[in-house]
Chain length 194, copies 4
DNA sequence: TCCTAAGCGAGACGGTACGTCTTGTCTTCCA
DNA sequence: TGGAAGACAAGACGTACCGTCTCGCTTAGGA
């Protein structure tokens, strides 16, 4: 039980790494399953014993990545949006390969939508909506999530011309503060207690 | 010369409409070139006499659409961002099918990027950057374009729960006004001259 | 030692019976080794510890059958060819399932050839060739073996429309007697001694 | 219409010849469709535009061969069985490759049965059954067909140790004459008229 | 009016990826 | 320690699609 499980894990690991390497090399769509198995040193048919699809493998890879992301945010409740943003962009720089696949890729739309929803929900859970705002809270939360991802994408597409700290400031001034000002109560509840 | 040109136009028209119909029916990726030609009543090989790719046909379809969009904006220089936004969302509602293909689709990332760039450039051409802003003007312009597209997408994904006028207000308050306030001079130059 | 031998015998027995059942169900070629092991309630890899091949298992099955056949002929030295033939066809009727696999099957050619050779050799051992015959004795013996098998096959393919006694007569008149008359001395040696 | 038909014929011709060559080289079963297309210089997928199966291609090849065979027999109504037999064996020697595939092969059982039936029917059409014979005419016809094929097989398996004329005599004495004597009227009707 | 050129329908073809199937090897687990 | 369980490599199978090509029909716009 244990040993064979470890072998399975290893096989999947090899497939995941091959997918990442090949996707960065020539784009997700252009990678065939044969490429992946050849690169991973795995039998072609074996691929289908683990994943029904190329997409499913990608989702598997990115899910692991999302878990990592969640942990990052769970650990650090930064006081200021700018500091929080700096943290985000530092993480992006560290994992730029995966972020590039995620944000530039053709077959990642579904995953991006998923991440965007999660992020928006997280945001809504932290900040309290302003009662008399003309902006519905879910619209505002969606805005924050989408705009943040767009900002990350711009940064990566332009080869990270600013430091994470600078990007954190932009993130704060362009996205968080205006949205918070117009759609949410000034003081976020949980961080206020810190 | 004239008649044969008209025939060519008609063939391309049929291909375009078949692509739109089939894409709405089962998604862009799932549509094969054989599907398109069958649906259009066109010989299979004839497709390649007009377009090298399925993507190229899509670009052709969407370019015509962008032209229409540009004309819309050229005609109306609305005084307030909210009114301008209302106009945009009214247009979206009218052409919701094409917008859905564009924003939800898997193979439209490249076109979306292109549109986003055009929009950002347009925005930069209209508004003058504030000299001492912490936000670089191209970042701000990119933010406006991306956030607008995300807002349209949210609206369509949620089946247009607000009126175009309400969306115009949200667009103004959430995107245009904050960005303008922090990154651009208060009065846009061209409209000031009107 | 004894116990494990018995266990091995039992495993092989199960495999043999599964092969026979499945072959009758959907034909020898269509039966895969996985089918056999599943049907026999045996581990897939275990098959290969007993037989290298599906064909080898079949040979094993049929060899046991041939042994039985030989014993039948050893016991009874019938005086007339017609009586001998009746005996043969009675046996065929009894074991018609196995004979059908053997004679109709796609993968049994090699075994059939083997049986044919044995039969021809047996025939040559019993009858003395006529010196001045235009027919070489091995040709004649091969003829007897092949024609007998073809006759059995015809009988089974047509659902045994005649009794074993009738078939025995046909066998005698159509195959044995003419061949004996032209290629062998009138009185077979061993039966003459009885 | 004509030109494309000719092209199709050429493609099938190439596939047929590749199948024959490869089958003689390593046996019918061991030949894969990829082998055939590679050897024929034909695209892999193209194979399936012509034949659903490897078996179907084989049947096609052998059917053409059977047509040739039929013509051979239609042309020449030889007076004596021995002469007729000599003709048959001369033809076998000429086409020994195809006969070997046919008679030794694993996937040719169905075709062989078909040929055997045709031959038997032909035989029945030529000779008139004897009314009081203990041998049913269809049994006798089947015997002739099967025994003839077995004789050819023996000859080829033993590398044709006798001349076609000798084999014709054997064929006549061992198969035709005895069967005719016991199951059919002495003078065949059609040849009697010649 | 004829006739040459172009658009087109039809479809054969080479090529390649897909997902399924089977075979035989090997390794781990269990009684 | 021998058999069960099953992961795996290898590779054939039949299907689907792509893009190229060639053929022949029809219709056009110029001679």
């Amino acid at each position: 039980m244990k040993k064979s499980d470890r072998r399975i894990q290893r096989t999947r690991q090899q497939l995941s790494q091959a997918l990442i390497a090949l996707t960065l090399e020539k784009g997700y769509e252009a990678v065939s399953i044969r490429d992946i198995t050849r690169d991973a040193g795995i039998g072609y048919a074996t691929f289908f014993r683990h994943y029904p699809d190329k997409d499913t493998l990608l989702i598997d890879v990115l899910n692991a990545f999302i878990q990592e992301l969640k942990q990052l945010f769970a650990q650090s409740a930064e006081p200021s949006p700018a500091a929080e943003g700096a943290l985000i962009f530092a993480h992006v720089r560290q994992q730029r390969d995966l972020y590039r696949i995620l944000l530039r890729g053709q077959g990642t739309q579904a995953i991006l939508n998923h991440i965007q929803e999660i992020t928006a929900r997280e945001f809504l859970a932290i900040y309290a909506p302003k009662p008399d705002s003309p902006i519905p809270p879910d619209v505002a939360a969606n805005h924050v999530a989408a705009a943040t991802m767009a900002l990350i994408k711009w940064w990566l597409d332009h080869d990270m011309p600013y430091t994470p700290a600078q990007m954190g400031l932009i993130y704060s001034e362009l996205i968080i503060r205006p949205t918070q000002a117009i759609a949410f109560t000034p003081l976020p509840q949980p961080t206020a207690l810190h």
